[in-house]
Subunit: 201 residues, 2 copies
DNA sequence: TAACCTACCAAACACTTGTTAGGGAAGGAG
DNA sequence: CTCCTTCCCTAACAAGTGTTTGGTAGGTTA
């Protein structure tokens, strides 16, 4: 009997979808079971609690995210190229784990305080550090404007990237790479039309 | 006996704070009562349901927001000035109604579907319309780049502005106007240092 | 065939939820 | 003083919550 753990994945994906749509607390285990086509009690054959499902969803997302982020950071690109790569990987991650990102975005704020979800705080710290360092390097090397408040800029960039999970739909008319390009163009070059008139490309 | 409705307002502010911190569904009426210094049942002397509190919080926020937005739109400024004014008013609104904005940001997605909160959808439409029109005017008059995807830009701007409610703390080191200026500088001029070297001011 | 496993159901569990009913203390109004 | 209103408490309610327990259908293994 081998083809077993497929059902588990299926249920977990369903749970992620419902969590993302309704919010974790507003979601009942009966609702999840319903959507997955079994009864509430049967969920506990696969998982040992509702919280465990949430935990597993968030961990899978963060693990994959950090594999990609670490690859980018290890490449030691210039600050502008690093920023471009991080943004692009973020939108790709939204494409793959839309539900998980939406959940993270909505719930991580108060989950962070629970001991079980302490790793969220850790991830957040690494995240902030990577971005701040990149922005500061850019200011130092002259790639970015020197009058930037890097902390504010970090928040703006972070928010805009991740909130996209709330409206992005995979298979829509924009690929993740296209969205990343548009976004980078906005944040790097600005929206205003300039005298010199050098719009991108 | 006149000094009555002050307590009501006090309780409502407390509720907003707790809703914002924990999420609406995760918040119990006993928790609200606790924070406000009375017992759960006593809340029903002032309000007729937990949902009513949420409703009143969101309505108060949106009503005030639209007074300000309408004033800006009625002034018939140029597209760039309109965008600047809208962003500034948004950050001011976050300064005044931080909790309400955070709740709106977190919950409006699924509340919109309930009939009682249908006005959220209406507000969202007006909001989108105002922003899209401004961006399109800017592209048409040459104030903004002509290669903008206005719809994507709208989403970026909208998200970045409102998510600020999740990290902004009134009385911090940045005034709403200062944040607005920094943000506008980023979104209008971009982060990249240019050949011409015209950073703002 | 018999033993065994996985995936599920049926039914109940203890607990928490939002909400209600009835009463009481405080204070202004007559 | 008495009446009345405001604000709150005590105590309970029914409904819904996450979870457990015991059992069973059906395929796999021996």
């Amino acid at each position: 009997m081998r083809p077993a753990p497929e059902r588990r994945r299926e249920i977990l994906d369903t749970a992620a979808e419902v969590f993302a749509a309704q919010g974790y607390d507003a979601t009942t285990v009966r609702r999840i079971a319903d959507a997955a086509g079994l009864l509430a009690g049967s969920l506990y054959h696969h998982f040992d609690s509702k919280e465990s499902m949430l935990d597993e969803i968030l961990r899978a997302f963060l693990d994959e995210l950090w594999v990609r982020y670490d690859a980018v950071l290890a490449a030691l690109l210039g600050p502008r190229e690093t920023l471009e790569a991080l943004v692009t990987e973020s939108f790709r991650e939204i494409d793959r784990h839309r539900a998980a990102v939406a959940i993270y975005q909505k719930e991580s704020g108060h989950l962070r305080e629970q001991p079980r979800f302490g790793y969220l705080a850790g991830s957040r710290r690494r995240f902030e550090e990577a971005w701040l360092r990149t922005l500061e390097r850019g200011v130092a090397t002259g790639a970015f404007r020197t009058d930037l408040d890097v902390r504010l800029t970090y928040r703006f960039v972070r928010d805009t990237v991740w909130v996209a999970a709330s409206w992005y739909r995979p298979g829509g008319q924009h690929s993740p790479e296209e969205i990343a390009r548009q976004y980078l163009s906005t944040v790097l070059e600005g929206v205003a039309l300039r005298d010199g008139h050098r719009t991108h490309e």
